[in-house]
Every structure is written in C-alpha cells, then in structure tokens.
C-alpha cells in the first residue's frame, strides 16, 4: 500500500542549528500518526515543511507516491493538506465565516464576496461539528477556546482535506472540548483522512494515535505501533531517546 504522505530524509537548519536532521516519517490513509518529543525536538519544524510554512534544506516529500514540491501554504493546500496550528491561525477581528473561508472566499457572479452564502455554509458545517455554536456574527476573539478550535477544524474539514496536520489541538481546551475534538478525530479517521498529530499528552497519544514517531534533538528516535508498546516505552523514547527493548517492530516507510 502506498503511503498517503512520505517525508523522506528531511533536514532543515537555522543558523547552524540542525532543527531537523535526516528524518523520515510516513502516514497512511485512515491513520493517526503522533509526533512526539520535547519542546525543541523538531516536530513542529518538521511538520511545517509539509504545511509549507518552512522550506526544507534537503529531503523529499511524496504524496500518494508522487514527488511534490511544497514551497508555501498555497502549494500545501493544492495537495489537500490542511493545518490546524497550535497558535490557532485565525484572524481575531473577523467572524467565523470569514475565517473559515479566508483565502478561498465564495463570491457572487460579479466577483464580490458572498457573506450570506459563506455564513450559510458555516452554519451547515458547524451544525455537524459543534451544534452548540451560535455566535456567527461575532469576531472570533469573542469566542471560547473550544469554539475557536472548532472554527479551525471546520476550515480543514470543509475543504476536503485528505491530510490533516494538528499541532496540539487540545492544548488550550477544557475536558469537554477535548472530548469533542477527540471524537472529531475518530470521525475524520473513519472518513479516510490521514492525520499527523503533534501531542504532548501521552494519554491522548495512546488513545488517539495508531503509530507514534518520536523525535529528540532534531533526530528521529523511531516509529512504533502504539498498541505494541506501553506508556513507559514511549516516555523512554522521548526522554532517553532509546527504542523500547521489548522489541516492538520498528516501522519504516513502505
């Protein structure tokens, strides 16, 4: 089976510091791969090469087995890659619909932005994702963390993302909202999306991910099948940078 995404031998350095050092990870359809590691381990940097926010120095990216060039966020979108950023890349002063369609506005035949149509679509998708959502006219800065996160997720889902990058999607959320996001991830998985999940909470990793790729100091420690290891094994990978001795099969790109 061809992986949905394969990032092969990726390196990127900032002023002599190797933020990502020859790292290879992959992702299959309907799969959630956790990216783990300490702050500064390089996981966010790695994933930003895929989302187009950074340009890698060397390495290749394959989508469905085809070599692709991702130079900017527009290129990433063209390959149906959507990113939900830790910092919630929303324009605080605009309402939910304007944010959902930012950069891809619906327009009338005369080329003007069609706010009514966008609000209607936003109401439709929010009815599915977060039925309690009601503040369609307010700027998103007036929304709670969970409501803002649902706007960000709605943006990815609406545009038929096939590859979803989630950078700590539950970091700013309360328990109920975290549960909502967890259910959403299961649903998206069932629809055949591939999800890269950057996560610090081991509990969430064990619950949501199929595989976990652990990074330390810019290098890949290894990729393990989450069902075959324990919490302690993964913590050991993160802290000590050692593969578990119990010998969970090391998974490489197909």
């Amino acid at each position: 089976m061809t992986p949905l995404v394969e990032m092969r031998d990726i390196s990127i350095a900032f002023g002599g510091v190797k933020a990502v050092d020859h790292v290879t990870v992959d992702l299959f359809p309907g799969e959630v791969v956790g990216l783990l590691g300490h702050n500064g381990a390089g996981k966010s940097t790695l994933i930003k090469c895929l989302s187009g926010a950074y340009q890698m120095d060397s390495g290749q990216i394959f989508i469905n087995g085809d070599r692709v060039e991702i130079r900017n966020p527009r290129d990433a979108r063209a390959h149906n890659i959507e990113t939900i950023y830790q910092t919630l890349a929303l324009a605080d002063n605009l309402d939910a619909a304007s944010n959902l369609f930012l950069g891809r506005e619906l327009t009338t035949p005369l080329g003007f932005v069609d706010d009514a149509a966008m609000e209607a679509e936003t109401r439709r998708i929010m009815g599915r994702l977060n039925p309690n959502f009601a503040k369609f006219k307010a700027p998103v800065k007036a929304l709670s963390g969970g409501q803002r996160q649902s706007v960000a997720i709605a943006r990815a889902v609406y545009f038929n993302a096939r590859i979803l990058i989630m950078d700590e999607p539950t970091a700013a959320l309360g328990p109920q909202e975290t549960q909502m996001v967890a259910e959403l991830i299961q649903e998206l998985k069932a629809q055949g999306l591939g999800i890269f999940l950057i996560e610090h909470d081991i509990h969430n990793v064990m619950k949501l991910c199929d595989r976990a790729s652990v990074m330390k100091n810019g290098q890949l420690v290894g990729t393990v099948n989450v069902n075959a290891v324990t919490d302690e094994d993964i913590l050991g990978m993160i802290i000590l940078g050692k593969m578990p001795e119990t010998g969970a099969p090391k998974m490489e790109g197909a």
Partner: protein
C-alpha cells in the same frame, strides 16, 4: 463577557435591534453637540447653508486621503508622507497644465485635453510612488514609519524642485471645477443626485434583508430597518436641501453674465447646490466601503491586520497586499491633490503641509485602531468632518491660533482615550 447592569439592558437591546455601531452613534452625537455649541456661540452663523457648504469643500481633500489611511492603519502600517505626496502630485499636475501641455507640447491654453491629461499624470505619479513605498515596506521589510518619514522629506522637496518653488497658475478652467465653489451641480442636478443616492440606500438595505431571508438567517425587525432607511434618506435629502439653499451672490452672477456679454435679467437667481468635489468624496467613500466589505482584497486587508501570520498561512500574499494598500493610498493622494489644488486655484509650494497629521487624526478619531484590524471608512470621513468643524468653528469664534491647535491635539488624545474606555466596557480586547 460580563453581564450588563439590569437598567442598561433595554437600551442595549434597542441598539442591537437597530444593528447600528454604537461607536458611530457616539461620534454623531459628539458632532451634533459640537455644531450646536458653535452655533450658539456664533449667534447662528455656524449652521448656515454658506458655512456648511464651506465646511464640506474644506473637508474633502483630507477626507479622501483618510479613507486610504484606514486601510494603511488597519494593516498595521502608517503613512507619514501623504501631505508631501499630495504636494508632489499637485506639482506634477501644475507643471503639466501650466508649462508642459500648453507650452512645451503646444496645445495652447484652454485646450480640452489639458485637464484630463494633467489629472492622469498626477494620479499616475501618486499611484507609482505609493506602490514604490509599499514595495519597500512589504518586500524589503523597511518599517512603514521609516519609509514614509523619509518620504515626507523626499516628496515635499521633489515638489519644490519640480515647481521651482513657484506658485503655478492660473489653472485650466475645467480643472478648477473640481475644487468646490467653481464647480457645483446647481438646483436640479443636486436633487437628482440626492434622489439617486436615496434609491441606492433603499436598494442596499432591501438587498441585505432579502439575502438574509433567502438563507433563513435572523433579520432585524421591520421597524428597525424602516427607521434606518428613514434616517439615511432624511440625512441625504436634508444635506442636499441645505446646499441648495445657498444662493450664488448676485454680484458674482452679474459678473458671469457680463463675461458672456449678456445682462442679467431682473430677479434672476441661482443656487450652488452639491459641489463636484463633495460628489467625488461620496463616490470615493462608497467605492472604498464596497472594497472593504465586499471584495477579497478588502477581506484580506482586514485579515492581515487582525493576524498577519494567519493571513499568510491562509495563502494570502501579504507582501503584495502591502504594495496594493500603499498604491491605493498614493492614488487617493493624487485625487486629493486635484481637489486641493483646484480649490486654491493654484499649485502653491506649501500645499498639503501637515495634512499627514490631519489625515491620521481623522482616521483615528473615526475609530481606526493603531493596533490594526479595526476601522471603518465612514468613521474616517466623520473624523475628518469633526476635525474641520472644530477648526473652522474655533476660527469663527475667534479662538487664538495657538489655542486652536492645542484644542485639536487634545481632542485627538481624548478621542482615543474614549475609544479605549469604550472597548474595555464592551469587553472587546483592543
């Protein structure tokens, strides 16, 4: 959000029903009070058709630029060079219509092509210089403050160099029509324009409502829509009526008849009506509002101002956006230069001096936040009107010149302070 005090609840819901920006209401309230105070102090000389006419034509130049400054400030930039840029555009147009076109190119004085060619050259100069500023800011990453502070010196003196520091005139006869008093629509045309504007307002309100009904969205109660429509139509027709009641002085009419070799019939009278320059401002205001609210460019301007990173990650080319915003600002400086020069009937070396401060003050008094992402076109125009009224009113009352500027400065600071308090009160983070 904190719960409002019980007593305040009904009033708040009235405002919500009307769907009108309460900040706008506050500004209009302040403006009305200002006018009434001046009118009382001057024994009714402030709110006369003549003074309102003069106020209108004096405001146009700054107000046109203020609409562009809204976009500049919304994208978290600033433009300190607009007054100097206006001077350069004015110098280009002055040189073109006084020296180059009639003399060097031999069109002769009064040729019909002079005015359009001169205007085109000024607008082009403004747009190109503005775009260049935008390129330095967007692509070369030089802060807008520095680029335009340098620009203030550069373009003020380019204007001086181009015109040799001379006052250029007399201007082309068609050109001066755009300055105000020389070019007005008269009775019938003013009513026609006012009528069209009313139809436009009604159509816009009806369209917005029909759109919301079509999508099954909640709509405002009918009485609220009717009240807003009535206020809008009333304001337009009232403004036209006032301008149409300002009669052209008999001496001036007699002179015009004499120039045409005729004698003025007994009892003949004419009114000024709507000045062409004010009509230009209205067209600019409508165009800029549509740009801000109904186009992608406008949406991106506000998105980039609210969160530049989010805009970039959404695939918006924020560098090119900066170029476009400053090019538009430059174009509007050119447009203002036409009005300012035609009103003075000459290009003077000090044209537009300190306009950058008036323009920024107008935008800020009008509710544009320097932190970016927030601002309205109508607010900036109202800000320009308030500034001009304050200045003219004080001059009329006979306030000493230093105190006039002190008061204007105080009002600017006070307006921003009130805005901050307002945002705190409404729970809006600024």
């Amino acid at each position: 959000m904190s719960e409002p005090v019980q007593a305040a609840a009904p009033r708040r819901s009235l405002w919500q029903a009307l769907g009108v920006d309460s900040r706008l209401l506050g500004m209009i309230g302040a403006f009305v009070v200002l006018c009434l105070v001046f009118d009382v102090i001057t024994d009714g000389r402030f709110l006369t058709p003549r003074n309102i006419f003069n106020l209108s034509i004096q405001t146009v130049s700054v107000a046109i630029m203020a609409t562009g400054m809204v976009f500049v400030i919304v994208t978290r930039h600033i433009d300190l060079s607009v007054g100097a840029l206006l001077a350069t555009c004015s110098a280009v147009m002055g040189v073109m219509q006084v020296w180059v076109l009639p003399q060097s190119m031999g069109l002769g004085i009064g040729h019909p092509a002079i005015a359009p060619l001169a205007m085109a050259s000024g607008l082009l100069a403004g747009t190109v210089i503005g775009a260049f500023n935008g390129w330095l800011i967007g692509y070369q990453r030089i802060p807008a403050f520095i680029v335009t502070l340098g620009g203030l010196l550069i373009w003020r003196n380019v204007a001086w160099y181009l015109s040799d520091g001379q006052t250029l005139g007399p201007l082309d006869k068609t050109f001066v029509l755009f300055g105000g008093i020389e070019g007005t629509l008269g009775d019938t045309l003013s009513w026609a324009v006012g009528g069209l504007a009313c139809l436009g307002v009604l159509w816009a309100i009806w369209r917005a409502r029909a759109d919301r009904i079509r999508h099954d969205f909640p709509v405002k109660p009918l009485w609220a829509e009717a009240l807003i429509a009535t206020l809008g139509v009333g304001t337009i027709l009232g403004f036209v009526a006032i301008l149409n009641s300002y009669a052209v002085p008999a001496a001036r009419l007699r002179r015009e008849f004499r120039l045409r070799g005729e004698t003025m019939p007994e009892g003949y009278s004419e009114v000024f009506g709507l000045p062409i320059s004010v009509l230009m401002l209205i067209v600019v205001a409508v165009a800029m509002t549509i740009l801000a609210r109904r186009t992608r460019l406008g949406r991106y301007i506000f998105a980039a101002g609210g969160n530049p990173d989010a805009a970039e990650l959404s695939g918006i080319n924020t560098r090119m956006l900066t170029v476009k915003v400053f090019a538009l600002m430059g174009f509007l400086c050119g447009l203002s230069a036409i009005v300012a020069q035609a009103r003075l009937q000459n290009h003077t070396n000090d044209i537009g001096t300190l306009d950058e401060l008036r323009v920024i003050a107008a935008a800020v008094i009008g509710g544009t936040a320097l932190s970016g992402g927030v601002g309205t076109i109508y607010g900036a125009i109202l800000g320009a009107v308030i500034m001009q009224s304050l200045q003219s009113g004080m001059a009329m009352v006979g306030v000493d010149a230093p105190f006039q500027n002190i008061v204007v400065g105080l009002v600017l600071v006070l307006a921003v302070w009130i805005d901050i308090q307002y945002r705190k009160r409404t729970g809006e983070k600024s």
